[in-house]
Subunit: 359 residues, 2 copies
């Protein structure tokens, strides 16, 4: 039976079985190549073995869940784009014309979009591609965390649970690896606030230009975040409170996806800055989630590396990407699948009849 | 008509058309995302446009050519593996059981293997998978460059021309992107020698552990390279001479592949340390080749970054790989293809009906 509250989800998460890592490393050592000559590809494949508890891991069935939400903080002039872009981009995801659609097609991943709380109401029945839209609207955008909590504690729990359930549905339908994605104008502001509180980094280290704001807006963004944190005084030890005070509905949804990966023992590929803020919330609730997460890429947002270090994750790609939507995670899935195929398909020295090392 | 000597090949290579880069950048600016939000994916796609002279580039038809050769210098104790492994691995490539086979299958790339000069004679008709083997044997392994030139100048020219012709055959058959690969016990020794002469780096910077030698063998490897360079005194301005004195037959073959990419205006994905030594030879003959090359990855060999800098190339992946065979290049092709699909498939702001930036 599925856990139906956050405490029950966290209680259902266990550590990786180190025995599977050892078994997988033993197979790697037999592959017809110098010891661990494919570097991190071995690490990726072995962790997939341990997560899926098998020496025949599969990442064939892939999905990306793009969590969308609007942000009250957008009214403070922290983004280069108008708030209406959130809903407009959700429509673009459904018609297949956004960056995540192209990259997910390339990676062979389904794209699902969840309305976690955007301002417009989009009827899945009434738009092209609407079958890919799930509606779990917690509210019509968050409140501005400059003036109080972004959402109530109940809403934060509901966002986490909604994300968990969407991922659980996909895993139960056979999805083997899940990528996280986000859409929400001003959500780097919320993510940077969460990142600063949880990593302890300064705002100068953590806050970046998001979609491309100028120096003046960047200064304002830092001030807004500082004031919002001061106003809300969130407890860094309480992930639900942190999400409620500084978060976005979509960030809660992403945290729920990540909790589900750990619960269902499926690898989750975390995308960039916003997705990693979601991972930080999940990690605050249950540090074991890191074992089930892969960092798809290193974002251009300056604080992202600090967040990943806090989670103990090393990015797979580093290509100067800063789009979000799940693009970096979806692209990294292609590398992960290559790693897994290599693990399963390369012959052993014995099978190939090749001599091992001289000494 | 195909050029049939090295001078004619070099004369047939022209620069990239900067107009195509501009046209491609103009399309990127219209894509429904913040300006250049996918970072290096845009650069990759735009360069593919310019190389193929189109706004509809395609990397659908991919091939990897694994150039194999033996090295006289292997007798000096510079490798962790016995020389017979070269031929044994060629057989493994043909049966589909090596790292490059698994990763090329994942990338959707054909694998071709060329006997540029391995010691054993493998009859393509007489082995499983032999249809993937091309024989252009320049000789049964090179001579030790510790005692004189590794090969004659005529052999060096023949190796370059053989590589060029194999790639030309593939391009004429419709291959749209080519990956380079290598196999040859002791070929990091030859590659480090070429890298040191062409980049001016010290042997401490350039020489690494290859397949995994210990400290004592690493010291010997450096001494052997220093003595080989001293003995041969190659002219860094003469790529053919450099190849003849320090090179391997397979390194010449790789340089030929790269010259062909520039000549036929097809992107070539250069793999790791040995392939980049081949690229250095091609670049010494014709610096324009860099415009047509992509660096698949950053190898664990310490000198590789210095070689790439000399060529003006930034690696696509950095995953601690050091296998060779073309694995890093083949894996990077999946990223390049993602970049190209993104370029072609993402809607414009206008098509998507999304508002552009506020300011």
């Amino acid at each position: 039976m599925r856990p139906n509250n956050v405490n029950a989800i966290v209680a259902a998460i266990g550590p990786l079985d180190a025995q599977w890592i050892e078994k997988a490393r033993a197979r790697t050592a037999q592959l017809v190549m110098p010891p661990r000559a494919l570097g991190r590809l071995h690490d990726i494949a072995e962790r997939c073995c341990a997560i899926q508890a098998t020496l025949h891991p599969s990442l064939d069935r892939k999905a990306v869940v793009v969590m969308a939400g609007d942000h009250g903080i957008a009214a403070e002039g922290v983004s280069a784009f108008p708030q209406a872009v959130t809903g407009a981009m959700v429509r673009t995801f459904l018609t297949g014309g956004a960056g995540i659609n192209a990259i997910a097609r390339h990676a062979g991943a389904q794209v699902w979009v969840v309305d976690m709380g955007i301002i417009p109401d989009i009827d899945p029945q009434g738009v092209p591609g609407g079958h890919q839209l799930k509606v779990s609207k917690i509210g019509p955008g968050t409140a501005s965390f400059l003036r109080g909590p972004a959402m109530s504690r109940d809403q934060a729990e509901a966002a986490l649970l909604a994300g968990f359930n969407h991922a659980a549905d996909l895993f139960e339908a056979g999805v083997q690896v899940l990528g996280t994605g986000d859409m929400g104008i001003a959500n780097t502001t919320s993510s940077a606030a969460i990142g600063a509180v949880l990593t302890g980094a300064s705002l100068d280290e953590m806050v970046g230009r998001g979609t491309g704001i100028d120096d003046q807006s960047l200064a304002r963004k830092k001030t807004v975040i500082a004031q919002g944190i001061e106003r809300n005084r969130p407890d860094a030890g309480d992930g639900v409170e942190l999400l409620a005070k500084l978060g976005g509905f979509e960030i809660g949804g992403i945290a729920g996806l990540i909790l589900a990966g750990a619960c269902y023992r499926r690898p989750v590929v975390v995308d960039g800055f916003i997705s990693t803020a979601g991972a930080l919330i999940a990690h605050a609730l249950c540090p074991l989630v890191s074992d089930y997460c892969f960092a798809g890429h290193q974002s251009e947002e300056p604080g992202h590396g600090l967040m990943l270090r806090h989670l103990g994750l090393a990015p797979i790609l580093n290509l100067g990407m800063r789009l979000g939507e799940g693009t970096g995670g979806a692209l990294a899935m292609t590398i992960m699948q290559g790693a897994v195929r290599m693990f399963k398909e390369v012959m052993t020295f014995e099978e190939a009849g090749v001599a091992e090392k001289n000494r």
